[in-house]
Structure formats: structure tokens, C-alpha cells
């Protein structure tokens, strides 16, 4: 709390707050009464503005998400608008065409909400749990790595390469997440790896 605020809080209590208003003092008190009566049926709604990072690419532009409804008061919030964050030093409020369409990305009916599996030979996806998904990914990676890992080249020099699997990681992460992702993936020997943390 700054000095400005505490000073004004005192003054409101000591001076203006107790008595009249500017409208009353100038002789427009009846207008104020009528306006107060006219406005009473109206309700207030709350919009939240929340900072976030665009998930598309490694530029990591700042965005502001507008949502209606107040989570703080236990209401549901629904995103109504997304725009570039003018205070963000990277993009200063601008967004590329993909970023400009972020709301449709969030609201998309085809958006993936949980892990889905299409088994070999099947034509449909089925929903599976995160445990099942991660177990399956780990199993398949282990099998492939056991089969295709190159520990040394033809001259016998150790190279420890695993070239049959690629790994694409997300961009909207912290430095720490990006660092850990890099360490984990490179430690397995994966060569074909994009962490989108290039910028």
C-alpha cells in the first residue's frame, strides 16, 4: 500500500464520505436520486483479465485472456476474448495470424482433451487414461531403443545414438522445464529433437 492510498482513504472517511456529493452541492441532487433509482435494476458482471503465454511457437508471445465469471467468488469462468499483451516485451500486444485465432484454438470442438489411442489396424480413436498412455509410450520407446540403439560407429568409437525416434516438446514452458526436457531426451540418445526453445 502506498502513501497516496492511505492518505486518500483517510480523507474519504474524514471529509467527503460523510456528507454530500458534487451533484447535490451544485443543485443537481434530484438528478442523482433519479439516476440511482434508474440504475438499481441493473446488475454488475465481472470480467477477469489473465496474462498467459501463447502456446504455438518458441517466440512465446504474451497474451491476455478475458473471461466472464468470477472464479474468486466460486463462479464458472468462460473465455470470451484473447488479445496480445501490450506490456509484454516480446510482442508488445501484437500477435501473428495463428496467435490471433487462439480463442478458436481454445474453443475448438476437435481439441484434444485427454489421451487418445488408435490401435494398429483400427480406424477409430479411443480414450485411455494418462497412466495407460504413459506406460504405452514408455514401453514402445524402450522396445524401439533396445532394437535400434547405436552405441558405437563402424570404427568402434562410442556414439550412443538413437535415430529411429523423434521428440517434439512444447514451447510455452519455463526455462527450467525446457532444460529438464533437453536433459531427459538427450540422455536417451535421441538425435531428432525439437524443444522449440531456440529463441
Amino acid at each position: 500500500m502506498n502513501v497516496e492510498l492511505s492518505r486518500r482513504g483517510f480523507l474519504t472517511a474524514a471529509g467527503v464520505g460523510v456528507g454530500g456529493t458534487a451533484l447535490g452541492a451544485f443543485g443537481f441532487g434530484d438528478l442523482e436520486v433519479a439516476h440511482a433509482a434508474a440504475i438499481r435494476p441493473f446488475k454488475l458482471v465481472n470480467t477477469m483479465e489473465t496474462r498467459n503465454t501463447c502456446p504455438y511457437c518458441s517466440v512465446a508471445c504474451g497474451v491476455i485472456l478475458y473471461s466472464k465469471g468470477d472464479l474468486r467468488k466460486g463462479e464458472n469462468a468462460d473465455i470470451i476474448h484473447i488479445e496480445g499483451d501490450a506490456d509484454h516485451p516480446t510482442n508488445r500486444g501484437t500477435l501473428c495470424p495463428k496467435g490471433s485465432a487462439l480463442k478458436d484454438f481454445v474453443k475448438s470442438e476437435t481439441r484434444l482433451r485427454y489421451p487418445m489411442l488408435r490401435k494398429p489396424g483400427s480406424s477409430t480413436f479411443e480414450r485411455i487414461s494418462w497412466d495407460q498412455a504413459l506406460d504405452r509410450v514408455a514401453r514402445l520407446m524402450k522396445t524401439d531403443r533396445d532394437a535400434n540403439f547405436i552405441s558405437a560407429n563402424k570404427d568402434g568409437i562410442p556414439v550412443n545414438r538413437w535415430t529411429t525416434v523423434g521428440f517434439l516438446a512444447a514451447s510455452a514452458t519455463t526455462n527450467e522445464t525446457a532444460y529438464l526436457t533437453y536433459k531427459v531426451v538427450r540422455s536417451t540418445g535421441i538425435v531428432c529433437f525439437d524443444n522449440q526453445a531456440r529463441v
Binding site: M1, A22, G27, H35, T47, R92
Partner: protein, 303 residues
């Protein structure tokens, strides 16, 4: 930016950083405000009051041509203010000097010809009759935002004159040399904000600027941050249901104060002072809430 005839490829080559402050142009500001107030008066049930404030704003504009050149603080004082991040216009040093006295006299004379209710007439009579000691005390009250509840109208007239005077002072400062004092304090005169705007200015699209209640200087403040207590936690935006979404109250759960935000990039006609008064309904609806009005507007005292 557009007024320069010199080619400026940097404007298209990269994204410019928004300027920290924009100084007022008293030759234009009050006339525009009067025009906006009159336009709002057409459609508002506060019409009579808005027309009255419009006439006062027009008076603030009309007296400009007759006012003496205001004297800025000397170079040493300006440099010292900048070194210690203080506003260059010293509020506590403002007194009833000849320039201020002349401004107030002209303001009161201009206000005399405005059509107004009896209460406003009486209040104007009081300030016109007041001796220098009383007027000095009223100037002090206005500058410290401590307005006695029984003399609101009198102080609003004085505040109107001071706005005209300090806007002229601020207009003569070097905007490039202003430094941030605090989020909720004008970098030119140290005044509290009247409201804040999300602007659509070229080079600052979507940035937020607070508007000073005294001198009209705009200064940049990060969005989604309470301008009263600088908190970024629990800032919500309340508006009247069914409205166009251009006028909201930025409510802070930390200090329980609110300052209105006008989304000027959606509606360029929004004026930081005129629309603050015209959106009184929002203040009335918020009056019974946990939030209190934290901005200062001499024509909206008591809310």
C-alpha cells in the same frame, strides 16, 4: 508521430515501446472534453449536470487565451526532482501567485455566465467573494484531495481553475524527462488518477495509461495491476451487465479500491474525465459493494 514529414522506417521495422508519459495539450483537451460532455448529455439522464460540467470545461478552454505564461520551476529544481524520482511540479509549492489568482478570477467570471441551479450560483458567489486566505486554504484542500463535505461545489470551482493552470504548467515540461514516481501518482504534478484508458494510440496500441485528475498528463501503467496499491493479485473488472464492455471498474481484492478503466481502443470518443462523470451509474452500483472509489474527480466528489 504522423505529424513528422521525415521518413521514419523504424516505425514499421520493429514494434516500438510505448512512451512512458504523454503531456496534456490544454489548447485542445478542455474543448474536447466539453464536446464529449455535451454529446453524453444528449443521451444521459444526468444530462443537465453533464451540460453544466461541459460549460465549465468550455470555460477552462476559453480562458486559456487570456492567461499569462506560467512559470516553471528552475532547472536545478527540475533536475533535483528527476534525480529523486519526484514530480517536477511541486504541489505543496503551488500557492495563490499572480498567475493562479488570474486563472481563478477568469474561471469564476466565465462560470458566472453559465446557466445553473441556485446552489451552484450561491457557491460561485462564495468563492468570488472569498479573501486570499480562504482561497489559499481551498487550493490546499483541493491539492491534498481533502474537500470539506459542506463546501464541495466551492472547491470544485477552485479545482476547475487549478486544472486549467496546472495543465498549462505540465504542457511546458519535457515529457522525455519525466520519471515514474509510483503507479498511482502523476509523474508531472503528483496528482492521483481520475481514471485509466486502454489506448489505441499509434505505437502504444492496447497499453494502459492513467490520466491525472489535476493536470491531465497520461502515464503508462502495466495492465491488470491495481493503480492504487500496485497489487497484481485478485484484480477483477466489473461492468454493468449488457453494456458495450468499454467501461469497467478495476476492482482490487488487496486494497478494496477501484478505478475505472475505459477501453478507448474500442471506442475512441471515451474521455477520461467526461465519461467518468457520465458513468456514475457504475459508481452507484458499486457503492454497496466491498470496493470503494479510489480515483479523484472534483466533479464527482462524494462517491
Amino acid at each position: 508521430m504522423t505529424s513528422s514529414l521525415q521518413p521514419d522506417p523504424s516505425a514499421i521495422g520493429r514494434i516500438p515501446a510505448p512512451p512512458f508519459a504523454r503531456l496534456p495539450d490544454p489548447e485542445v483537451m478542455f474543448a474536447q472534453r466539453a464536446k464529449r460532455l455535451l454529446a453524453l448529455a444528449e443521451v444521459s439522464d444526468l444530462g443537465a449536470y453533464l451540460s453544466f460540467v461541459a460549460a465549465l470545461a468550455q470555460a477552462q478552454h476559453d480562458i486559456q487565451s487570456q492567461l499569462p505564461e506560467p512559470s516553471l520551476p528552475d532547472e536545478d529544481a527540475l533536475a533535483r526532482a528527476r534525480e529523486f524520482a519526484m514530480p517536477p511540479i511541486d504541489r505543496s509549492g503551488l500557492s495563490l501567485d499572480p498567475a493562479v489568482a488570474r486563472t481563478l478570477d477568469l474561471m469564476f467570471d466565465a462560470a458566472a455566465s453559465i446557466d445553473k441551479p441556485k446552489e451552484a450560483e450561491v457557491a460561485l458567489g462564495v468563492v468570488r467573494q472569498a479573501g486570499p486566505g480562504t482561497v489559499t486554504a481551498m487550493i490546499r484542500n483541493v491539492l491534498s484531495e481533502a474537500i470539506p463535505a459542506d463546501a464541495i461545489a466551492e472547491h470544485a470551482y477552485v479545482a476547475g481553475g487549478l486544472q486549467a493552470h496546472v495543465a498549462r504548467l505540465a504542457a511546458r515540461l519535457d515529457g522525455e524527462k519525466l520519471v515514474r514516481v509510483s503507479d498511482g501518482v502523476c509523474p508531472a504534478c503528483g496528482g492521483p488518477p481520475v481514471s485509466s484508458l486502454i489506448v489505441g494510440w499509434m505505437g502504444a496500441e492496447g497499453a494502459r495509461y492513467c490520466c491525472c485528475s489535476l493536470c491531465g498528463t497520461f502515464w503508462n501503467v502495466v495492465r491488470i495491476k491495481c493503480v492504487l496499491c500496485s497489487s497484481t493479485k485478485g484484480v477483477g473488472y466489473r461492468e454493468i451487465d449488457g453494456g458495450p464492455g468499454t467501461i469497467k471498474a478495476e476492482c482490487c481484492d488487496t486494497c478494496h479500491g477501484y478505478v475505472k478503466v475505459f477501453y478507448q481502443q474500442k471506442d475512441v470518443s471515451l474521455d477520461p474525465v467526461a465519461d467518468d462523470i457520465a458513468s456514475l451509474g457504475l459508481d452507484l452500483l458499486l457503492r454497496d459493494s466491498e470496493y470503494r472509489r479510489g480515483s479523484f474527480n472534483p466533479f464527482l466528489l462524494g462517491f
